[in-house]
């Protein structure tokens, strides 16, 4: 291990910092007025003439084949325009991505798979007619159950997005055998669904299908997506179009949490349906129930964590082995144990990932894939180890603080984990934490819990930004970025304002459209880093080329710059999560009256929108800790509780005094802004903090999420 460069925290040799003026101020959302007045156009709401409506047909079996479909009755309903089936749908040019090979064969790989659609003059007609389509199946046995003892678990080639599947350093078994204190526990998290407020929506319009003056068709999709350019690239390939012939428009998105990171099957169905209605828009919005089949989910996990420590609590061995599922349709190997490669110093370490290949819908990114479920297990294990060592959980973490990144040996660009823990402890009143199971107020058992958080600072290549001086004396700033409700509209305008050294109001940002320069997907908390760096580069190039008083029409573009510091430093965000819980002694009900997150995520671009991101993540963490669980019925192969009455997310009454704060220091190695992403770290560690607080309140250690009241009942 090498000592970090003593100056590394102060400056970078390769990055010129932004001259900070507007950045760091709590400007109100530039899209706020449009949203509260209902004029912000979400995918369903664009004013299009003469639309048609699409309702999907879904498989009622989990594996087998469609033998016959009878659409006679559906087609006879007044207002039905077309019924799509695997037998009459257009052939796609590329079926390499089986998730997107919609209606290309009669094979069924999971329950709820798309097997057709009705296109009609009204949404009600389409839905009614869909119920009249007769389907005959040849059913085959299906397999949807994840168990850690399955003999057919396999080792994927890599885990999301590009991590090695396993890691092995030193001799874990020998170190565990020799350790003064050991822990060996298994933790599990259930299947969970992203459930953004805005259901996945795609409206497709074909223009001049095959007969246009320029000789080819064009497709426009009004989509609810985290990456317009990613949708375009995928859809263009399927329909054998040059990418310029596909336009994706997505100015406002009502949440995604990863589930809108890539196009899903409904995007293709919408485009196929639009083909059947010659030039008319085909509008498709999934129902809440359909989201559970067609828009991705978080894999369930079973995680065995083994820790070995010396008598003082210094880790000698750390072993984190994750078992999870993937769909037979498309592999997604979640990087559940990867955060354990860098959190704490331990000379002997192992992480592994094994998958069960099941007849389930396609799983994909859900807020902090990997870090979120992985840090639940790892941080509860650390709490258990602190107990076993007789140490305060914060002290145990401080003792095991690594001087440099244990997985690469690189110096940290800016870690500050212990500072987050100690700051939080002071603010939260950690000194009032009592022995487990000893603090009672009336009928309620009260406890405090803590957990660490981390998230990597991803820099996505491949974006470009264009700056143009407009006739009104302002600056158009163009990049095909996405705002999922996170504050992109505002934060990128602030960055552009500082980069151009012009007033905030002089920036006219344009995002959410493939007619704009390409942008990477809003995923992995990479947006501000990737798009912000690109805008700064473009603004600097613009000033270099056109000076401080450019003529109207002056224009410059730049691509995402390389950041050499990403190769020299380990660039991650860190944080500390604190929770107070009350557990009813009679009923086992859990309430979370207080929560505090302290984060080290570099410079905060806009405290107002940042706070919202952080506490949003923490709220989702409470939700994961206490409520969220998609219940797969292994008999039918479907998620039974596929609506908001049954799949519980935290309601207002479940969220008490929740606060987020941050160590407001730029990370000079991250980018010119000194900022790191904040979309995901808010959820990481939050479930573990709640679960650790439940243990402190009750003395009961719950290792399988969610912590429902039945798990805390006393006789």
């Amino acid at each position: 291990m090498t000592r970090p460069d003593t100056d590394s925290a102060l400056s970078s040799e390769s990055i010129e910092p932004l001259n900070i003026q507007t950045v760091g101020t709590s400007l109100p959302r530039v899209d706020g007025h449009a949203k509260v007045t209902g004029t912000a156009t979400y995918a369903w709401e664009h004013d299009l003439r003469n639309p048609t409506y699409v309702y999907p047909l879904q498989s009622a079996i989990a594996r087998g084949r469609v033998l016959r479909m009878d659409a006679t009755q559906a087609e006879s309903v007044d207002g039905v325009i077309a019924v799509l089936t695997p037998y009459n749908a257009a052939r796609l040019a590329d079926t390499g991505n089986a998730e997107l090979a919609v209606l290309q064969s009669d094979e069924i790989a999971f329950r709820g798979q798309l097997i057709g659609a009705v296109v009609a003059e009204t949404p009600e007609t389409a839905r009614h007619a869909a119920s009249l389509v007769g389907v005959e199946y040849e059913q085959q046995p299906h397999d949807t159950e994840l168990r850690a003892d399955r003999p057919d678990l396999y080792r994927p080639d890599q885990v999301n997005p590009v991590f090695p599947t396993d890691s092995e350093e030193g001799d874990v078994e020998a170190a565990l055998a020799a350790a003064a204190v050991t822990l060996d526990q298994t933790y599990s998290t259930p299947m969970e669904h992203n459930n953004p407020m805005e259901p996945h929506t795609c409206v497709s319009v074909w223009d001049n299908a095959g007969t246009g003056a320029d000789g080819g068709p064009r497709l426009t999709q009004y989509d609810s997506t985290q990456g317009a350019h990613a949708v375009r690239k995928n859809i263009a390939r399927l329909f054998e179009l040059a990418p310029e012939r596909v336009r994706v428009i997505s100015p406002h998105v009502g949440g995604g949490f990863g589930s809108k990171g890539m196009p899903h099957a409904h995007n293709v169905l919408s485009a196929l349906a639009a083909r059947a209605v010659a030039g008319r828009p085909a509008k498709l919005a999934l129902t809440r129930q359909q989201l559970f089949d067609l828009a991705g989910h978080r894999t369930p996990t079973v995680q065995r964590v083994r820790l070995g420590a010396d008598a003082d609590g210094r880790l000698t061995a750390l072993c984190h082995e994750a078992v999870e599922h993937t769909s037979k349709v498309k592999e997604f190997a979640e990087q559940t144990a990867v955060a354990s490669r860098l959190m704490y110093a331990a000379p002997n370490r192992r992480t592994t990932h094994r998958l069960a290949l099941l007849d389930v819908p396609v799983n994909t990114w859900m807020r902090a894939p990997g870090e979120c479920p992985g840090m639940f297990a790892a941080e509860v294990a650390m709490d258990e180890l602190a107990d076993a060592c007789g140490l305060d959980p914060i002290e145990l973490r401080a003792i095991n603080e690594p001087e440099s990144d244990p997985s690469t040996g690189k110096p940290w660009s800016h870690r500050r984990l212990v500072e987050c823990l100690r700051t939080g402890a002071r603010r939260f009143g950690w000194d009032r934490r009592a022995e487990a199971g000893t603090r009672r107020e009336g009928d309620w058992l009260v406890g405090l819990g803590v957990a660490s958080a981390t998230y990597p600072s991803w820099a996505m290549p491949g974006s470009a930004a264009e700056i143009e001086r407009t006739a009104d004396g302002r600056y158009a700033v163009r990049i095909g970025a996405a705002d999922l409700g996170t504050g992109t509209w505002t934060a990128l305008s602030q960055i552009a304002s500082d980069a151009l050294e012009c007033p905030f109001d002089a920036v006219h940002l344009e995002i959410g459209d493939t007619d704009l320069p390409p942008a990477s997907v809003a995923g992995g908390s990479s947006g501000i880093n990737s798009w912000g760096s690109t805008i700064v580069a473009a603004a600097r190039a613009f000033r270099a080329e056109h000076g401080d008083n450019p003529a109207a029409g002056a224009r410059t573009s730049s691509k995402t710059p390389e950041n050499p510091d990403m190769k020299r430093y380990a660039v991650h965000s860190f944080g500390a999560q604190f929770a107070e819980v009350r557990v009813n002694a009679d009923t086992g009900e859990v309430r979370v009256p207080r929560m505090l997150g302290v984060f080290a995520a570099g410079r905060i671009i806009n405290p107002r929108t940042a706070r919202s991101q952080f506490i949003g993540g923490m709220t989702m963490g409470i939700s994961m800790a206490l409520f969220e669980e998609s219940v797969l019925d292994h008999g039918t192969g479907h998620v039974v509780n596929h609506d908001f009455a049954q799949y519980h997310v935290a309601a207002n009454a479940d969220v008490g005094d929740i606060e987020a704060t941050w160590l407001d220091e730029p990370d000079p190695h991250a980018n010119p802004m000194g900022a790191k992403g904040i979309g995901e770290i808010g959820i990481v560690g939050a479930p573990a903090a709640v679960v650790n607080a439940v243990h402190n309140a009750t003395g009961i250690r719950v290792r399988d999420l969610p912590v429902t009241p039945d798990k805390l009942l006393r006789a």
Partner: protein, 330 residues
């Protein structure tokens, strides 16, 4: 959309005659359950008779000290009624424990009694369900049954009744007044909902076309205290895992009388008569409360996912009675 006709009832008798004459007709009040069912394909009435303009929205005090609640009184209005809050806190608390503020503003007294189970299989037309489609089977038997019944279930149906209000009304010995072809009849709430047996498609004893016009509450005995406690996974907007409605009267340290109903444990609000019997005349102690719970729950039949309901109900009943007994001694 499946086309349907809509008519607005102007008098109750005509409304009853209209619906009785057409098997495909249904009454519409708040619509918080029926409209969902129409969207989900569970119900497809061809005629909706809207009863919300009928003069059934009054809350009146009866000469004997009881109360009469009109069928279309909204849940929010009933919960907030000062006399109800004073005399029947158990009912006000139960109403406020249900649904959300928006739903309570729309939902009516009669509609609340008539709401159907939220069993996930019942609400999904792609799965078998004897309640929705008699003879098709019960998917909950081998499926997910965490929320299902531990008392009075049958092999044909494990569903639970979702209402909070009806549980409190059961403990209060409320009476449903229903108008049929031959005029009005009075049905105790305790007998209003059915156990599933081999006809789980029938939730209540009402005949098609009978219209609930009111619910009457008998006078509250002097000195009686009451409370409703709902246990649920999240703090609001969730159906009960289990719930307890209790009315307690004591003489010093002894129980004079207790009326108890459980929610979330059966196909109907479960009046816990065995527990009441065990309590009558017993010392008001934690042990007695728990023994009373055991007297009722001894008959429980447990499923893989719902065994927790027995200890949860026992603990909750003890907690509610403990609180009421303490309140009385103050």
């Amino acid at each position: 959309m499946i086309p349907f006709d809509y008519s607005r009832a102007t008098d109750a008798r005509t409304a009853v005659a209209t619906v009785m004459a057409r098997p495909d007709a249904a009454f519409l009040a708040g619509g918080t359950n029926l409209v969902d069912h129409m969207k989900l394909g569970l119900a497809s009435p061809e005629l909706l008779v809207d009863v919300t303009r009928l003069p059934l929205d009054r809350i009146e005090e009866l000469p004997d000290g009881g109360m009469r609640i009109g069928a279309t009184v909204r849940n929010s209005d009933l919960a907030a009624h000062p006399l109800l809050r004073r005399r029947y806190p158990v009912l006000s608390q139960a109403l406020l424990a249900g649904a959300s503020g928006q739903l309570r503003n729309a939902a009516t007294t009669a509609g609340n009694l008539l709401q159907r189970t939220r069993c996930g299989y019942f609400q999904d037309v792609t799965t078998p369900c004897n309640k929705r489609e008699p003879g098709s089977g019960c998917a909950a038997v081998g499926g997910w049954n965490r929320h299902h019944a531990v008392l009075g279930a049958s092999e044909h149906c494990l569903a639970v009744h979702p209402s909070d209000m009806a549980v409190a009304m059961s403990a209060l010995d409320a009476v449903v007044i229903a108008m049929g072809a031959e005029g009005e009849r009075r049905i105790p709430v305790r007998e209003f909902h059915r156990l599933p047996g081999d006809t789980p498609e029938r939730d209540t004893v009402l005949e098609h076309g009978e219209l609930i016009t009111a619910v009457e509450l008998p006078p509250s005995p002097p000195g009686a205290r009451s409370a409703y406690r709902k246990v649920r996974d999240r703090a609001s907007f969730a159906f009960a895992l289990i719930s307890v409605a209790a009315v307690l009267e004591t003489d010093g340290d002894r129980v004079r009388d207790a009326r108890i109903a459980f929610g979330g444990v059966a196909h109907k609000p479960w009046r816990a008569t065995r527990a009441e019997e065990a309590l009558r005349g017993a010392a008001a102690t934690e042990d007695a409360f728990r023994q009373a719970a055991d007297a009722e729950l001894g008959a429980a039949q447990l499923l893989p996912d719902n065994a927790f309901k027995v200890p949860m109900t026992r603990n909750t009943l003890a907690a509610v009675l403990r609180e009421l007994a303490t309140e009385e001694r103050r």
